[in-house]
């Protein structure tokens, strides 16, 4: 399931992009402390004043257009920028963590093909990112 938000800001996409990807800028709006290696497969850590800490892996990055982060709990946030007449449209979609969606669907008898293994790709977390993350944390 998803939560979606959209705002239009008067700045240009490249100005907004800096605020999304530079750690010192992220600390102004996203988290109290931010570390982010803004490239595909790059890692980040965000800390908040209440002691909360979340780790991310950059799943997708398209300069000045699209940034997709995988949270360490299995959730995902996608931020898209689109130039518009009044500046830049910023669209955020956060997807809730999923735990074995294929199993859940099977439990509900939604699919007749219940014997099929879960297919990688599609809307579920890409195995590459998950592996990259495991490798990174194990290193």
């Amino acid at each position: 399931m998803e939560v979606e938000r959209e705002i239009v800001v008067p700045e240009t996409p490249d100005e907004v992009w800096e605020a999304l990807t530079e750690p010192e800028r992220l600390e102004e709006w996203f988290a109290s402390e931010a570390e982010l290696d803004a490239r595909p497969g790059g890692e980040g850590v965000f800390r908040w004043g209440d002691g909360d800490e979340r780790r991310v892996v950059v799943r997708e990055l398209e300069e000045e257009r699209r940034l997709v982060l995988d949270w360490d709990d299995g959730g995902t946030v996608a931020i898209e920028l689109e130039e518009c007449e009044d500046g830049t449209r910023v669209r955020v979609v956060e997807t809730s963590p999923e735990i074995a969606p294929a199993l859940e669907l099977r439990a509900l008898s939604l699919e007749p093909s219940a014997a099929e293994p879960p297919t990688p790709g599609g809307k579920t977390a890409p195995p590459d990112a998950a592996l990259a993350w495991t490798a990174a944390t194990a290193a």
Binding site: W29, L108, L110
Partner: protein, 123 residues
């Protein structure tokens, strides 16, 4: 985050089907119901209803209790509340972050963005 949101997707998967939604609605409206009672009201067989009811109970959306020879079902609000809670907390967090982003951008006006009221997030 407590990481216990697995039920959330299950709830929405369950609610993604019109037949199941109407089944839950009917059970909720009646308070409790058995497969026989529901089959009498809905254009489906008792067996089909019984199967869906049992799946919905597995997903935690309905609670099943034996009542004589039949199983009686009622709606359990907890998984839905969890889903709504997640939506509200994540939605509120993004409302706040995006308002802060807007303020932050206002303070960085470079080439063309000269903001008069950087912290006015509505108008």
């Amino acid at each position: 985050m407590d990481g216990g949101h697995g039920g959330v997707d299950r709830v929405f998967a369950a609610l993604g089907d019109a037949g199941r939604r109407s089944l839950i609605e009917t059970v909720a409206t009646r308070g409790t119901a058995t497969a026989t009672e529901l089959a009498a009201e809905l254009p489906v067989t008792r067996q089909a209803v019984a199967k869906q009811l049992s799946a919905l109970a597995d997903a935690g959306l309905l609670r099943a209790t034996r009542s004589g020879r039949e199983t009686r079902y009622e709606v359990t609000p907890a998984p839905l509340e969890e889903a709504i809670e997640w939506m509200v907390s994540v939605g509120t967090a993004w409302d706040e972050r995006l308002a802060a982003l807007r303020r932050s951008l206002g303070g960085y006006g470079k080439s063309r963005s000269i903001r008069q009221a950087p912290d006015d997030s509505r108008s």
